[in-house]
């Protein structure tokens, strides 16, 4: 069965393979194109550097008119990532546009790692440390980076 959402996801996958953005990768799971596994490599010159952070992306048949649900599987310590891995990012909620594709989603999340927004915290502790104690923040992030090698 090939619905518009599935066809669009096939195009997203093709684009991701033909024109892969640096530092991110993703592919549909073997038996379901509506569920993807992705990896974001921690951006250079950030405390996330060297980390390999895994995510899942779940699409509905309303894609691309509705954004997918994106969640970190790897443990994260970031002002805009909830304890369950959910991500607080405007383009995945109220500023979603149907012109975004998987490439755009993953690169936006990657830039969120470099530039957290401590004013809309999903993790209050991470937001507070980011603003007030950058050294401790980086220490907690580094612990996640090391954890990301194992799982």
């Amino acid at each position: 069965m090939s619905t518009p959402a599935r066809r669009r996801l096939m195009r997203d996958f093709k684009r991701l393979q033909e024109d892969p953005p640096t530092g991110v990768s993703g592919a549909p799971t073997d038996n379901n194109i509506m569920i993807w596994n992705a990896v974001i490599f921690g951006p250079h010159d950030t405390p996330f550097e060297d980390g390999t952070f895994k995510l899942t992306i779940e699409f509905t048949e309303e894609y691309p008119n509705k954004p997918p649900t994106v969640r970190f599987v790897s443990k994260m310590f970031h002002p805009n990532v909830y304890a369950d891995g959910g991500i607080c990012l405007d383009i995945l909620q109220n500023r979603w546009s149907p012109t975004y594709d998987v490439s755009a989603i993953l690169t936006s999340i990657q830039s969120l790692l470099s530039d957290p927004n401590p004013n809309s915290p999903a993790n209050a502790m991470a937001a507070q440390l980011y603003k007030e104690n950058r050294r401790e923040y980086e220490k907690r992030v580094k612990a996640c980076v090391e954890q990301s090698f194992i799982d």
Binding site: T3, R8, R11, S97, P98
Partner: protein
């Protein structure tokens, strides 16, 4: 002096120097649709082809294109399949590319 001038004049007339010879002419033409993009940014198919939804439902006529699947230009000059943009504006009346309020400038098939 006068004679010399006459001579050179007559030489110039009888044996005009060739500046260059045109041996071959390759014409290069450029064209584009009169809009800022020719791929529908919503479904990622060329706007002149049927949109993904119409392809999936295969509502095609003889030319392999759904008769109602037309190109829709907004006042901002962005173009999408009419099918694609009309689904989106039900949710948010903004151009998905420039976030301006969406209003239709024209439709064409």
């Amino acid at each position: 002096m006068d004679e010399e001038d006459k001579i050179s004049d007559s030489e110039n007339q009888t044996k005009p120097e060739k500046m260059f010879t045109l041996k071959r002419w390759n014409s290069v033409a450029m064209w584009s649709w009169d809009c800022s993009t020719d791929t529908c940014a919503i479904c990622r198919v060329q706007v002149m082809d049927a949109c993904l939804r119409c392809q999936a439902e295969s509502k095609k006529d003889a030319t392999n294109k759904d008769v109602t699947c037309v190109v829709c230009w907004g006042e901002c000059n962005h173009s999408f399949h009419h099918c694609c943009i009309s689904l989106w504006v039900k949710q948010s009346n903004r151009c998905p590319l420039c976030q301006q309020e969406w209003s239709i400038q024209r439709l064409s098939s």
